[in-house]
């Protein structure tokens, strides 16, 4: 690749630095926290419900690091299905696809460490939060590429309408 004929530089506002744009894995020594939260996905419409059963995530990378995936059903994080996916540094771009089950654990009432069963979370809306972490698990990126490809959501509509609040009509 030939050298660029023009490059953008930034001037710092609280210091003397002249910074080259698009270079390195940090901002003048400060980490870069990459984060993406999807719009709500509403497969059964606003009055319906679905079981959200799985996620597929595909990432192409050369950088090391980790990706934390947190699903949210009806704005509540599904903490039993938070995944931290490792990536190791490569010299050539490598594409990884993970299949991630989405489930809520039913725990023993006396000992929360005992999982009695897992079930797919049921709700109206699903959102997915993706965060890029460095090798130490901090919100930062390592040197190299990290390219988020298309994620997919597996779901099953269980009812097209659900009980909703039915306020009494004003007389």
């Amino acid at each position: 690749m030939s050298e660029p004929l023009q490059q953008l530089f930034y001037g710092r506002g609280t210091g003397p630095d002249i910074l080259l744009a698009g270079d390195g894995a940090d901002d003048g020594g400060q980490p870069i926290a990459v984060k993406a939260m999807t719009n709500p996905f509403i497969p059964a419409g606003e009055g319906g419900e679905a079981l959200f059963t799985g996620l597929w995530l595909t990432v192409t990378h050369t950088a090391a690091g980790q990706i934390r995936v947190t699903p949210f059903v009806d704005d509540v994080a599904v903490t039993d299905s938070v995944y931290v996916l490792p990536m190791t540094a490569t010299t050539n771009r490598e594409t990884l696809t993970w299949e991630l089950g989405v489930a809520v654990a039913i725990r023993d009432a006396h000992d929360a460490s005992v999982v009695l069963a897992t079930v797919a979370p049921r709700g109206t809306r699903l959102q997915v939060l993706l965060e890029l972490l460095d090798a130490e698990g901090q919100p930062a990126r390592e040197l190299g590429d990290v390219i988020f490809e298309t994620p997919s959501i597996e779901y099953e509509v269980v009812r097209e309408a659900r009980a909703a609040e039915t306020p009494a009509a004003a007389l």
Binding site: G13, P16, K35
Partner: protein
């Protein structure tokens, strides 16, 4: 039945659409990514290439980098830096790789009551104009003109009273003209709606008759931005368009009666249009039509993501365009809104959190200088300084240099290194003669007794250095550039310092104390000094008495009023060398002597 929904990345932020119409491939929050079709790429960072320091001496870092740009005539970068304590605004040249800033001259000293400086740069017909964007014309610095060699103030006769300093709020190059705004004349400087135009191809010549008026003076012109063959004039809530190509057909017409720019630098060109940030969010302007709203997906009137970094002020904000990845960036300190234009028919937004606060951006273009103008292409110097035999005392180093092959237009840089410290540039100016010069460094340069002092020197012409002297580490330069000397040990410390006695004098109802000290002299030194301070801080002390080292008792010093509530004074005795180099007052164990002013009895 189980189904699968793909959520392709790349649709960008969508914070405004209601749930019924919401597309699942949009994002509620999207930070620090570059969007392509169906992908989101973790954005790369930004790396520090160099830093500006006050006077280019490498001692006091500048607190703001206010402007960056390319001076294409000379094929150098231009940077303007501001240092808060001294309030100096200074111009530097840069390599086109962002390296090696070289101090040129002061743009001026910013008024203590002026705002944090905003600076605009405009290259027009072989000169670079520098304007201080202070809204208050009484606190604004003179517009400066850099020709590649010197920085001089712009003057013009704009009121018929003779040539006077011109203080434009901003400058821009448009067609064959330099355009400046926000300044009427020396006798009527506050004309915020006036836009002045230079003579064609003569960017430093302004006639008092050549100007546009953009609406009424109640709202100031913030920016003039060329788009195609026209130029748009922005106020905060209005936009005008300059038409014509010369004084025979120049005119100004209203373009947008509602929208303007929120800040003077919140605009940039991208893909044939002008993208700017109005008081109601981002918009795009084309030369002829009304502007179009781009802000809807951002839902700026709604709450931002809770943990998104705070935005800076409009006055400090700026916009820029990343040609390589086709991004328009609106920077508000650490918060940035990024418009992805890889598919111009489908602009998409994301947030960006800058690790450091940004103040400006500029594109540096690689290339060669235009030969034949403004002194032509500078050539690297061929000569070099040669260090002679250094001499020294305890507090000074004298470094003679002879110049080999100097033509007279070279700049000399002299750097010193004190002990194990870092190299620091102490001299950066045009050489005084071609045979050589002698440089003397003293206490003000940080010279201390008994320390190895290294000195190195090189020639510079523009941004070019003699071959072999390019490194910013003088230790890498040829050995002839460097010399060293170890300063003499300083004076020894006195011992057994103590208060000898006191004497009290009564004047009417008041009593005054005088006191004297005695000590044992050290073995080296010429004089002794008695210092006094109201704090236990020798750096804050002043010399109360000085005498030959053979004298080991001070005269009575004072008089100090005796009061009911005593106050205290601290006294130190130290020796000095013949050249004035002082010893360390804390080297004597008895220093300081703490004396209360009721020493000889209360009033």
């Amino acid at each position: 039945m189980r189904q699968v929904q793909r959520l392709p990345f790349g649709a960008g932020l969508d914070r405004a659409t209601g749930l019924a119409l919401l597309s699942p491939d949009g994002f509620r929050d999207l930070r620090n990514v570059e969007l392509t079709e169906g992908r989101a790429i973790a954005r790369p960072g930004m790396s520090v290439q160099s830093g500006l320091s006050l006077g280019g001496l490498g001692v006091t870092p500048m607190t703001d980098v206010c402007a960056l740009g390319t001076y294409r005539e000379k094929a150098v970068g231009i940077a303007v830096g501001f240092e808060q304590a001294s309030r100096k605004l200074q111009l530097f040249t840069l390599g086109l790789t962002g390296l090696n800033p070289v101090y040129v001259a002061d743009v001026g000293t910013v008024d203590a009551a002026a705002q944090r400086p905003v600076v605009s740069l405009a290259e027009s017909y072989r000169i670079m104009a520098v304007a201080h964007g202070e809204p208050d014309s009484t606190k604004r610095l003179q517009t400066m003109i850099y020709n590649g060699t010197t920085l001089t103030g712009l003057t013009a006769d704009l009121d018929g009273a003779g040539a006077a300093a011109v203080k434009f709020r901003g400058v821009v190059s448009w067609l064959d003209y330099l355009v400046g705004w926000g300044f009427g004349s020396a006798s009527q400087p506050h004309e915020p709606h006036t836009i002045r135009v230079s003579l064609p191809t003569q960017p430093t010549v302004f006639f008092k008759t050549d100007y546009f008026l953009a609406g009424s003076p109640t709202e100031a012109v913030l920016a003039v931005a060329p788009v195609g063959s026209t130029a748009l004039v922005f106020k905060q809530t209005q936009t005008y368009r300059l038409i014509g190509t010369d004084r025979s057909d120049f005119g100004i017409v209203p373009l947008d009666a509602r929208y303007g720019l929120a800040g003077a630098r919140l605009w940039t060109h991208a893909q044939g249009a002008l993208y700017g940030w109005s008081l109601e969010g981002p918009r795009v302007w084309t030369p002829n039509g009304p502007s179009q709203d781009l802000s809807i997906p951002l839902d700026l009137s709604g709450p931002s993501p809770a943990d998104l970094v705070a935005a800076g002020e409009y006055e400090d904000a700026f916009a820029c365009y990343r040609h390589d990845v086709q991004l328009v960036e609106f920077h508000f300190g650490r918060r940035c809104y990024v418009l992805h234009l890889r598919d111009p028919s489908r602009p998409r937004w994301s947030y960006r959190e800058n690790g450091v606060e940004l103040r400006c951006a500029g594109t540096l273009y690689y290339g060669v200088a235009l030969v034949g103008g403004g002194g032509g292409t500078p050539a690297a110097p061929a000569g070099h300084p040669v260090a002679g035999s250094f001499t020294h005392t305890a507090g000074t180093v004298t470094a003679p240099y002879t110049y080999t092959g100097a033509l007279g237009d070279e700049a000399i840089e002299v750097w010193i290194k004190i002990g194990a410290g870092a190299w620091a540039m102490k001299v950066n100016r045009t050489i005084a003669n071609t045979a050589g010069e002698t440089f003397v460094f003293g206490e003000g340069d940080g010279i201390i007794p008994g320390t190895l002092i290294q000195v190195a020197a090189r020639f510079r012409r523009g941004l070019l250095f003699t071959s072999g002297y390019e490194s910013t580490n003088p230790s890498d330069w040829p050995v002839a550039a460097r010399g060293s000397a170890t300063t003499d040990a300083g004076p020894s410390a006195p011992t057994a310092v103590h208060l000898l006695d006191g004497m009290q004098t009564t004047y009417g109802p008041k009593k005054y104390n005088s006191i004297r000290f005695t000590w044992t002299a050290g073995v080296s030194g010429t004089n002794s000094q008695l210092l006094v301070a109201s704090l236990n801080d020798p750096a804050a002390a002043s010399v109360l008495w000085e005498g030959p080292i053979a004298t080991t008792t001070s005269p009575y010093v004072g008089t100090y009023l005796v009061s009911a509530t005593p106050s205290y004074r601290y006294f130190w005795v130290r020796h000095t060398m013949g050249d004035g180099t002082p010893g360390d007052p804390t080297a004597c164990a008895e220093n300081p002597i703490n004396v209360a002013d009721d020493l000889l009895g209360t009033p």
